[in-house]
């Protein structure tokens, strides 16, 4: 019998899901050291999530800038602010969305979260330096400076034709200048000098006009990366001297993180209890997909760069755990309503998912709009936050619309109509007066039929519409009957009085 088949399938679905969920939970808490179970050093994935300065501390470095003599105070302040911002952008690009760069007077303070060694800051932003482009003829000859690092917008590593190359991106002005320079230097060598010392001297093969150029030289990835960072660090408008650097502790301390983890776990437990109490077996399905959601969310937070959890981020994650069951609550309420209006348990479930989709999609699209705007418009912290929010919404849609549905279907295949009470489904005509919509649907169909008859539209259709209403009423009684068996034919009056009085029965 197909019933047996579907039950076998359901058992398979539930088993697979349980295994995945258990593994997800176990791997969230267990770390494996080298050699155990033949796994190489596995770290529990939530521990991989990068944390902001407030939760994990990090390291700081302070730089001072000398005011060049030909610079007015105003220009100097602007240059400091420009440097501050490029440092911030640079760190953001490297995934440190919560790094803080502040300036005062001629001092710039860089605080980078989640690193233990201040030296790492230099790996990230380089040792800020001057960068000059000159023609290279020999080591002894110093030619005039053709261009400085200020014209470089970005430097990075690309992989092209089987080797790592350094890619330079110029500002609009820089692109023009660079085109002129390379036109003059075709066949010659272009020297790139950092702090007056030659960093490299690539051959110029052709005039480069596109605003970007790549430098090849059989680099390893690490070499290319180091050189790119060095060049990028030379793109700051000022010479910076590092004066001070050290590690710093978290501003909030361990307690905040611990509180966050416990709050998350307790929150999930409370939601599970609440959902099961409220929606019975439907709540069980929602709870299972909530666990699935929590694991995948945490996993994605660990995997994605640009995610650096701060106090605000933790609160966001905690809220999103609560919101993740929102779609399920909407759906379950709808199923209850549909069931209350006389549909069978299975049809009510089907309809519940179908009819609540509009509200869920509309609600989430608006939130997604917000998240995307934050990612595009915001500054570093806000941008990182937008990313966290977006991941949460997309995953929660997946878990509440798809995972819950599959689980609910699997669970329901073991029951039949008599077990509706396990799903907290009741037909309470005396208590619940809200089957209007389901009733109205019957009317809708009758109305459509009547309208088809009535077409084409002619003046006087008023009367026909009245007729349609009559038909509708008959349909209504028929449709609504199972919902209020004891009320006999009083349905129409009931509906009307409800509408005019506006109260609930």
């Amino acid at each position: 019998m197909t019933n047996n088949k579907s039950r076998a399938l359901s058992i398979a679905v539930l088993t697979i899901f349980s295994i995945v969920a258990v593994l997800g939970v176990v791997f969230a808490f267990v770390s494996l050291e080298d050699g155990q179970l033949g796994v190489h050093n596995y770290i529990a994935y939530p521990r991989v999530i990068k944390l902001g300065l407030d939760l994990s501390g990090g390291a700081y470095a302070e730089y001072t800038a000398e005011q060049p003599e030909d610079m007015t105070d105003e220009e100097f302040n602007a240059a400091i602010e420009g440097t501050r911002r490029s440092l911030e952008d640079l760190l953001f690009g490297k995934g440190y969305t919560e790094a803080q760069v502040s300036s005062y007077g001629n001092t710039i303070r860089v605080e980078v979260p989640d690193i233990e060694d201040p030296e790492r800051i230099f790996d990230l932003v380089g040792r800020p330096s001057t960068l000059e482009f000159k023609e290279y003829t020999s080591d002894d000859v110093e030619n005039e400076t053709l261009m400085t690092g200020e014209e470089i917008a970005n430097a990075g590593v690309t992989y092209y034709e089987g080797q790592y190359r350094i890619m330079l991106e110029f500002t609009d002005e820089g692109a023009e200048k660079f085109a002129e320079i390379t036109e003059d230097l075709v066949g010659k060598q272009l020297g790139i000098y950092v702090n007056g010392e030659l960093l490299m001297a690539p051959n110029v093969n052709e005039t480069i006009t596109g605003g970007t150029c790549t430098i090849d030289g059989n680099f390893s990835y690490d070499d290319a990366y180091d050189l790119a960072v060095q060049i990028q660090a030379g793109s700051f408008p000022l010479d910076l001297n590092m004066t001070n650097s050290n590690t710093i502790s978290a501003t909030l301390g361990d307690s905040a993180l611990k509180a966050g983890v416990i709050a998350g776990l307790v929150g999930i437990a409370l939601i599970v209890i609440y959902m099961c109490a409220f929606y019975g077996l439907m709540g069980v399905a929602a709870s299972m997909s909530l666990i699935y959601y929590a694991c995948t969310y945490v996993f994605f937070l660990a995997v994605f760069p640009w995610v650096q959890l701060t106090l605000a981020g933790i609160a966001g994650v905690l809220l999103s755990i609560g919101m993740a069951v929102d779609a399920n609550v909407i759906i379950f309420e709808r199923i209850k309503e549909e069931y209350g209006s006389g549909k069978s348990m299975f049809n009510a479930t089907k309809e519940g998912f179908k009819r609540s989709l509009g509200a869920i999609i509309d609600g989430n699209v608006t939130t997604i709009i917000g998240a995307i705007v934050l990612m595009i418009v915001g500054t570093s912290t806000i941008r990182g936050f937008g990313i966290t929010l977006l991941i949460g919404i997309v995953l929660s849609l997946f878990s509440s619309l798809i995972v819950t549905r599959i689980l609910l279907k699997a669970i329901m295949s073991f029951q039949d109509e008599r077990h509706a009470k396990f799903y907290m489904l009741r037909r309470r005509a005396d208590e619940d007066g809200f089957e209007t919509v389901a009733v109205a649907e019957g009317i809708e169909e009758a109305q459509l039929a009547a309208e088809e008859e009535a077409a084409p539209y002619i003046p006087g259709a008023e009367m026909r519409a009245e007729e349609a209403d009559e038909t509708a009423d008959e349909t209504e009684v028929k449709v609504a009957k199972p919902s209020a068996p004891k009320q006999g034919g009083g349905n129409r009056r009931k509906y009307k009085s409800r509408r005019t009085k506006g109260g609930t029965r």
Partner: protein, 374 residues
């Protein structure tokens, strides 16, 4: 649990629903004004964090000899904070300000508010880093008073820790600019405005113009209420707070949309039933919000669970942050359930009346197309 619903028309009681937030906002304005007047400084109305306003940073390095077995970070931090808020130092600054700059400033405006502290270890030494606010620019446009205060604090700290050339202990003091700067606020506000505009466009397309306007007004209400509570409870406004506000806006819109979705559905059903009669907007809104009430309550409760636990377990700084979020959740629930349907019904009624007037003088065809449109 079954939520017992009143028979009264909730949407129609809008007068009550609009008064409550107005009272809260008014109260916050009074508190704001009170603090501003007390310190004679408009910036004191709100508790603005150093990541917006900038501030000073003091680093105290303690050599091995200073770190006793029992004196840990917390104990030393308390000592330093006590110096930062020392009455004598504050009084000296107030006196000097009166003599040299002829400004009288309240003593509370001089005392430093610590925004956060950090610890930094290198070898056997321990450094304590404390960030605190500067004297408001209302009194101190060129930071001369702040610098004076910092010098006094530095001297006092050096005395306290017996800093000499020979030992490893050290006190350094520096000013620090705003990390979150004006630009961050600007971009956050810009992001908020653009999202609101886009949400408005989306809701107008998917629903009706009136739903869009009502939803956006409800969101503005949430932001205003959160800000009002933050002012009243003197909670620090910093970049985390901005992020919290945005989260609330992002989630509150969900509640509103769910109710409007139901309004849309009920409107359609009603029009099918009686194509030519005017809609009773208040009745439909009331019915819709009662139909979705259980869901709104449930979602708000599940969302509250974790964040309330977080606030209970967390230290003071965590609570300070979680509280506005909790206020925001309540504000979001309130505005979605009590305000936006009522606003929608009010606006829709007004527009229906206008249309009816037009229709009375217009042609019959207009009526038909109207019925079809919906």
């Amino acid at each position: 649990m079954k939520i017992k619903m009143t028979k009264k028309n909730i949407a129609k009681m809008y007068r009550i629903w609009f008064v409550i937030p107005a009272v809260i906002i008014l109260a916050a304005m009074i508190v704001f004004a009170g603090f501003a007047i007390k310190d004679k400084d408009i910036n004191s109305g709100m508790n603005i964090g150093t990541d917006f306003a900038g501030g000073s940073i003091v680093t105290v390095v303690l050599g091995e000899d200073k770190i006793g077995a029992q004196a840990g970070f917390d104990a030393e931090l308390d000592k330093i904070v006590a110096v930062l808020q020392n009455d004598e130092i504050a009084q000296q600054v107030v006196d000097k300000a009166r003599e040299e700059y002829e400004v009288t400033l309240p003593i509370d405006a001089v005392k430093a508010n610590v925004s956060y502290s950090q610890r930094s270890d290198s070898g056997a030494n321990m450094s304590i880093i404390v960030k605190y606010d500067n004297i408001s620019s209302t009194y101190d446009s060129d930071n001369s008073l702040t610098n004076l205060r910092n010098e006094l604090i530095e001297a006092r700290l050096e005395e306290m820790y017996e800093v000499t050339e020979d030992n490893a202990s050290m006190v350094t003091m520096s000013n620090i600019g705003a990390t979150a700067s004006r630009e961050m606020v600007k971009s956050a506000v810009l992001a908020l405005v653009i999202s609101l505009a886009l949400i408005l466009v989306y809701v107008v397309i998917r629903f009706e113009p009136w739903s869009g306007i009502a939803a956006v007004i409800a969101l503005c209400h949430d932001v205003a209420i959160m800000l009002a509570f933050t002012i009243m409870f003197r909670i620090q406004i910093n970049s985390s707070f901005i992020a919290a506000m945005i989260t609330i806006v992002a989630y509150s819109i969900n509640n509103t949309i769910v109710i409007f979705d139901r309004v849309r559905e009920n409107n359609r059903a009603e029009l099918k039933l009686k194509p030519n009669s005017a809609l009773d907007n208040f009745e439909i809104c009331d019915r819709s919000l009662k139909q979705t009430m259980t869901r709104c309550v449930n979602t708000t409760v599940t969302t509250l669970f974790a964040i309330v636990v977080f606030a209970i377990l967390g230290a003071a700084s965590v609570r300070e942050f979680a509280l506005p979020v909790i206020f925001g959740l309540f504000a979001g629930f309130y505005s979605s359930v009590f305000m936006s349907p009522a606003l929608y019904a009010l606006m829709k009624n007004a527009s229906d009346k206008r249309k009816a007037k037009k229709r009375a003088s217009g042609t019959y065809v207009g009526q038909k197309s109207q019925a079809q449109k919906d």
